[in-house]
């Protein structure tokens, strides 16, 4: 296959988006194969350093998706995630990562079709942006600044 196949990782919460993606399956709605789902208890758990690290390791795009505002299974985890996301955005800019490579969305347990949509749009966007190649920069940053466990 000559066409560029983006690597997309989705960090999703267990209660809304993971369940929503399950519903996409039960409803047999098809979407692009490019995505790999990693389950978290809540978007509040998602550590943005892990997103950075993923870019450093060569992912082309990332989806972060959880419950709608006010619908968080844990009251407010998604708000916290949102708050940190704003800080993280700036870091991304600083690191030269195109913000469009990270898709932040809300997909509830009832939104099977929306999940397929989110995946397909993200894959299309990333396909247009092309492969992510600046990872060395991020990797260097990690060498210098962040020690991970």
């Amino acid at each position: 296959m000559s066409e560029f196949e983006p690597k997309v990782v989705a960090f999703v919460c267990n209660w809304c988006t993971y369940a929503g993606a399950d519903l996409t399956g039960t409803s047999r709605i098809k979407y692009a194969t490019n995505v790999r789902i990693v389950r978290f208890p809540c978007t509040g758990r998602i550590d943005y350093m892990l997103l950075m690290k993923s870019f450093a390791e060569g992912v082309d795009g990332i989806i972060v998706s959880g419950c709608h505002p006010n619908d968080c299974h844990y009251t407010s985890g998604n708000f916290q995630a949102r708050r940190r996301w704003i800080v993280f955005r700036n870091l991304c800019d600083f690191m030269g990562i195109d913000i469009r490579r990270i898709q932040f969305s809300w997909v509830s347990a009832a939104e099977g079709a929306k999940w397929a949509d989110v995946v397909n749009t993200t894959v299309t966007t990333i396909r247009e942006l092309g492969p992510y190649t600046d990872y060395k920069k991020v990797a260097n940053y990690f060498e210098k600044e962040v020690s991970h466990g």
């Binding site: 809304c16 993606a21 194969t33 208890p41 619908d71 968080c72 299974h73 009251t75 985890g77 009832a110």
Partner: protein, 667 residues
Amino acid sequence: MSRIGVFVCHCGENISATVNCQKVAETASGYEGVVHSVDYKYMCSDPGQTLIKQAIKDKNLTGVVVAACSPRMHEPTFRKACNEGGLNPFMCEMANLREHCSWVHDKGDLTTEKAIDVVRTQVEKVKRNQPLTDIKVPVTKTALVIGGGIAGIQTSLDIANCGHKVILIEKDPSIGGHMSQLSETFPTLDCSQCILTPRMVEVAQHPNITLYTYAELESLDGFIGNFTAKIRKKAKSIDEKLCTGCGLCTTKCPTKKIPSEFNEGLGFRPAVYVPFPQAVPNIPVIDRINCTYYIKGKCKVCEKVCPTKAIVFDQEDEIIEVAVGAIVVATGFGIKQPDFFPEYGYGKYPDVITGMQFERLASASGPTFGEIKRPSDGQVPKKIVFIACAGSRDEAKGIPYCSKICCMYTAKHAMLYQHKVHGGESTVFYMDIRAAGKNYEEFVRRAIEEDTVKYVRGRVSRVYEKNGKLIVKGVDTLLGAMPVEIEADMVVLATAGVANPGAEELAQKLHISYDGYKFFAESHPKLKPIETNTGGIMVAGACQSIRDIPESVSMASGAAVKVACLFSQNELTREPLIAVVNRCAAPLYSTCVGCFLCQSACPYQAIEREEIKDRSGKLIKSIAKVNPGLCQGCGTCVAFCRSRSIDIQGYTHDQVYNEVMALLNEY
């Protein structure tokens, strides 16, 4: 050294039709640490589970990956199987090859590649799993029931009869819900009040039930077995202990012309009122928005006439806090109101009414004492038209679903009309007749065959008024789409049932999910229709989707059983997927620096301070400590901790990090 077993499931053909399961198993067998890798037709079947147990013993497995359906479906199954095979249940992970792979992709190499990737991530994760033990938490054996319609009443009585305490809260002045407004009920045509009232009284008198009417949930904290609910008891302006229910105040109140909610605006009530004569409790409330005293500071007639001095104008809302172990939500449904049908003139022509208004007209205790009369001039309608699916099954109006009960109540209405108005003519415009319950089809046939109700298959386009008649323009699609025009005296709309207006807000307070129409979401549409995704919270009745009485009652009893099951245990076991702050040897004790960022982030106030002292009692450092009873395992704290001192079991840094890296290295 890890010894991992991988089990790839075909799910009949659900997975194997698009994923090459054999290849997945073969590839996995080559991973470092994998000592056993097989594929099998049905992993969750008995022989499938035996396969796992046997392999644990034979191969001395330290971890298991089942590559099958969603963990939301079968994780408990396989963890249990591992446990029975002698492996700690938390040493088992599932790779989702069905919902997230075979069902959403076409057959092909890319799909199989994805399956292989997903299995690899779980192998890397499970290598880093730690054996964990379940957490035990106590159970408060009191249930909170929200909503006092037939569903809430039934569930309260069932739980109470199991010997447990129940707190029932109802937002209106009386319990009874929509059922108390009905005249007679399908499919048996027995009188609604006659069968409901005894149950309402039973609720009021049951020693295990505490009833708060005119009360709403203010907030909810805690978790299964251990909730704390704050309840707002809205001020009734009446001292319930003093009031004897004599009713003097309601008869003497000079403000009499307030449209009665109970009669759907077809009658009036005073400002101090009991919604209907059989109300439970039979204690009035003052409607402060309409009471002259609250508006103008003058009147107080009720206070003067009350023999027991029960009127308290300056009463305030009271907030009480209760500890409960389980919750049943039974808040029912709502009915679409005016302006939704401009083409049918609802809200404009008084003789175009809703089904619920018809119930009130047909009810012996209603504004016309059971006689069917036109609201406009009190005449008995000689020709009546019923319009089914009014608003339902109508994408353009935003309600694509079928409201389920209206076919049946429309047949009932037409029947009641024929019984009450001799020589009257009734026509039902319908699209399909949905009568799939016990004795339902027979009921509809009776309306058509014995009570001569005319059924016309087609939708009505418009209703307008001319010379005191309502002109109904419909169509008979069974006659090659022939336009039909009827001059009717009255039109009844089988208005769409919708979620309760406050449903979304309530769901957010309870942290339960709801669907696109704001009906509360069940945990599984078939196998867990009563539980929500939040442990300890059940749903019953029409708040989950429009339901008729038999269904609401069955669900309510089902919910009661779920609660009783919970209360049959003295302790609950909870998954130990919670946060822990690391501890290490002295002199460091923990990498935690005591910044307590985690504490401020935790939505459950689960993080406490722990003081580490030396032998002499001197404080060495303050560090964070997680209260395992309170922690829900959301992980918010983890993302906040800069020194990586707090971690969440089951989703540790180490696990998640390697899961992702496993993905990227080969992908």
